[in-house]
Symmetry: C2
Subunit: 566 residues, 2 copies
Amino acid sequence: MKEKRKIVVIGGSAAGPKAAARAKRLDPDAEVTVIQKAPEMSMASCGYPYFVGGVFDNRNALLSTPYGEVRDPNFFLHTKGVTARTETEVVAIDRQSHNVCCRDLKTGATDDLSYDKLIIATGARPRKPVIPGVDLEGVTTLQSMKDADFLRKIRDDKTITKAVVIGGGLIGIETCEALQLSGIDITVIEMLPQILMFLDWELAKVLENHVRSKAANVITDVRLSSFIGEAGKLAGIRLENGTELPCQLAILATGVIPDIELAKNAGLTIGETGGLAVNEFMQTSDPDIYAVGDCVELIHRITGKKTRAPFGDLANLEGRVAGENAVLGNQVTFPGTIHTGICKVFDFSAGSTGLSEFRARQEGYENLVTVVNASLDKPEFMGAKLLISKMVVNGQTGKLLGVQCVGPGDVSKQIATAAMAILGKLTVSDLVTADLPYAPPFSLPIDHFIATAHLMENKLKGRLVGISAVQLKAQLNQGVPPFILDVRTPAEFDQMRLGIGETLIPVGELRDRLGDLPDDKDREVICYCKISLRGYEAARVLKAAGWKNVKVLEGGIMAWPYRREK
Amino acid sequence: MKEKRKIVVIGGSAAGPKAAARAKRLDPDAEVTVIQKAPEMSMASCGYPYFVGGVFDNRNALLSTPYGEVRDPNFFLHTKGVTARTETEVVAIDRQSHNVCCRDLKTGATDDLSYDKLIIATGARPRKPVIPGVDLEGVTTLQSMKDADFLRKIRDDKTITKAVVIGGGLIGIETCEALQLSGIDITVIEMLPQILMFLDWELAKVLENHVRSKAANVITDVRLSSFIGEAGKLAGIRLENGTELPCQLAILATGVIPDIELAKNAGLTIGETGGLAVNEFMQTSDPDIYAVGDCVELIHRITGKKTRAPFGDLANLEGRVAGENAVLGNQVTFPGTIHTGICKVFDFSAGSTGLSEFRARQEGYENLVTVVNASLDKPEFMGAKLLISKMVVNGQTGKLLGVQCVGPGDVSKQIATAAMAILGKLTVSDLVTADLPYAPPFSLPIDHFIATAHLMENKLKGRLVGISAVQLKAQLNQGVPPFILDVRTPAEFDQMRLGIGETLIPVGELRDRLGDLPDDKDREVICYCKISLRGYEAARVLKAAGWKNVKVLEGGIMAWPYRREK
């Protein structure tokens, strides 16, 4: 009789259980065991902020199947045929003897478990800044079910009035929203010049302004120097610029670091990014050991370089690949990531796929072309909402490198569409005629994504000369103001305006009022409207009339990240 | 001095104005004239049903820019630099002399207008069935602003209690919803066996059931024989099966036919589908004449054959291409369509891109593989809604041929993602590891689209043997019932069940209750649950335990298009 294959999976949160279930389905004779440190398994950890914020109240929903069965060891045994041991830690991997040493966290007892193939899914842990007071009571993270329970209790008990979130990344912003919805006065502290580093600065600022409009404060460009305690409890924080903020709660959201101690101690190769190195089969430097989830490093599919991508969706997809390869031999590959991500930020969403301009420049791309487009997501009469996108392409090849999108509109569809376009290696000339679903309840006749590609095409062909808000602002700061032309209606101007020395000439009057423009046809003229569609129209009129240096302010007023006069 | 280029555009609804504006922007010296028969221009005609149904009340919203300016000849002149003549008909094209003969519909006066390049955008008109009584008062269409005004007045006046919609296509179903929302008792009459022919039968039935649940009746598979009049007014309809339905209003939605009389009379080539033939530059058989919008035929990008695709989004994209080519020479191409479409059907949406199974078989594709997947669109705790998708791939190459999706969930994102995947020529093995945006407010960790691809991969690799609801039903009708296994919980079974002779064994008990299965290991066993994820799990368990002929009912109970016991 054939020996039953033994598969051991270390980690029972996301990637681990997926790998285990897949392995068992494809080799029903295999003995599959999952070792999990926490008391819970298969936690929907991305849902913690929504539980904390009171979007739903049933804690079990985070731990259950859609039909209400809790994913505990009993569920795994009977439904999946997988043995799961919770509150158990793997303390060592003996690659020679193909054993892992387990310790029961309740009893302290240890035992050895042998494996034919091992799958490491140890995840990542919150980065804990080395700052005085970091161990005070009231300084926490939102990483585990225990953290979620702790913060949810704070919401329910209403014991806290002021909190800070350290770190303005995805988790930080989601946590900020959760606590703000709990009625807590929140300040987000970010040491970088912006929140949400997957966005370029100008889009991040739009989000930052939105967060502030929701009465959560955001302080960027400043480092935390210490947590201030009173009788062992957190009482406030001190920033490097000397500012002190009183608070009874601080949530650390300064990123995660791969949990690779076990793998490192076993002599497995650690990659340049600090994640466990794996090949395309999700196999570590030991062919009998696979690794998946937040502890590994992946290939960035655009740059070809190593990167980390601790996202719940990828963890599942990696687990599926490793589970199959562990039992069937190396059958399937995981090609890597394009860093697609999205988060909800109060009434806005923010998403990104591929490379931002900042990231692309960091990676050494030259000849980048970018464009910012602001438009509604569907016709106004259908209850439209705003979308602001930034598209980044390789100017040489026209290939799409990245898209970011923010706003109250349907960001999720925009980013999914863009991600698929990047995976399909499409160029701008493919995108301008894309056949996307249109009906008024869902999109504009020319979908925002295609309209962004149209602007990009106009730019690539030299028909649209754009200027970003950042560039214009820099020029204004240097005291060399161009002629600035707002081409909206007087009613719109009364309601909202930049106040940067602009002249108002509605686009419909422009052809008759060319005399109001500078006589000097070489003078730089910047046109804009609410979203710069009319701005583009105006620029074409002026160019036709002989002005040589006409630019369009990309994204118009809606994408202006600075303070407006009105 | 260079002669100014003269561009004449026939048709001012969607494709025409887009072509005109684009031409003028790219050649500001050109004299661009649009001739429009209707009194209105640039109507958001896809919005008519929502105006009729009272989703919004401001009629002008259908005719205005997002900033509230009505797109009338004055707007076109001042904002776009384009001359527009409304209530004017082109009665003949003289290709020899490069003239069009125009007639003013108010005065009857005619004049000639010369062109260098002509763009035909004459659209399509409703197909009017040759049936007694079709000209009775009360028989109408929803094609023009006048129609929309007429139907809106009916809503506002509440003069009508019973209406029928002839034709269950996209426009028919949208019109049905609009009138039902107006408090009118509605019946949709469709001569084919199903509504919404862009969907395969089983998905269309899910929609049909939903429409019925909203108190609008649907009768398929029956032809209309006559409209019954009383004193010149519609009083009812008679079907070929003898049924008579009283009604005071009938809306014809039996498709559109390209308006090509003018082009035909001018000797331009008409294509095999009845649309005006154009090349990839949107140029007709006369190099000085382009054509765009609902009057042309296009290339189907998957089959390579000619097809018609009268959609508002494509009209705009085609107009943009023709406008550019008319003034700059043949610079840009329009590659055709993949028939991407979507519509709202009460609380459900229905979308499709690429080929349905029915269509693919019609086109002669062999070795097709299809899969139906039902799942939530996001985690249950975030207020998830159901999605049911059907994916069609080429079994030889694994290339994605089409995706249909219906349900109350986020169908629009699913179809946009699928459309982009088809345009990128992606295969199932590309889709199973796609990097899409994930966060709980927007999707499941494994997005519905990727999950569908996972099922498809399992099927392609022989790990999942599916049976469609249609196949199972046929088998049951033949009196050869397989062993049918529902693997949900008893509570779920109490609430909802098929009642087709199934046995209930919850998946978690299955491994311990194999004795309850048929002794004959060759007996066909069909497993399912609510959406067939647990059904798949169960099938793997049974296969491992030796049953040889185990199938999964695709889409489970949620995709079952027939009457359920409960």
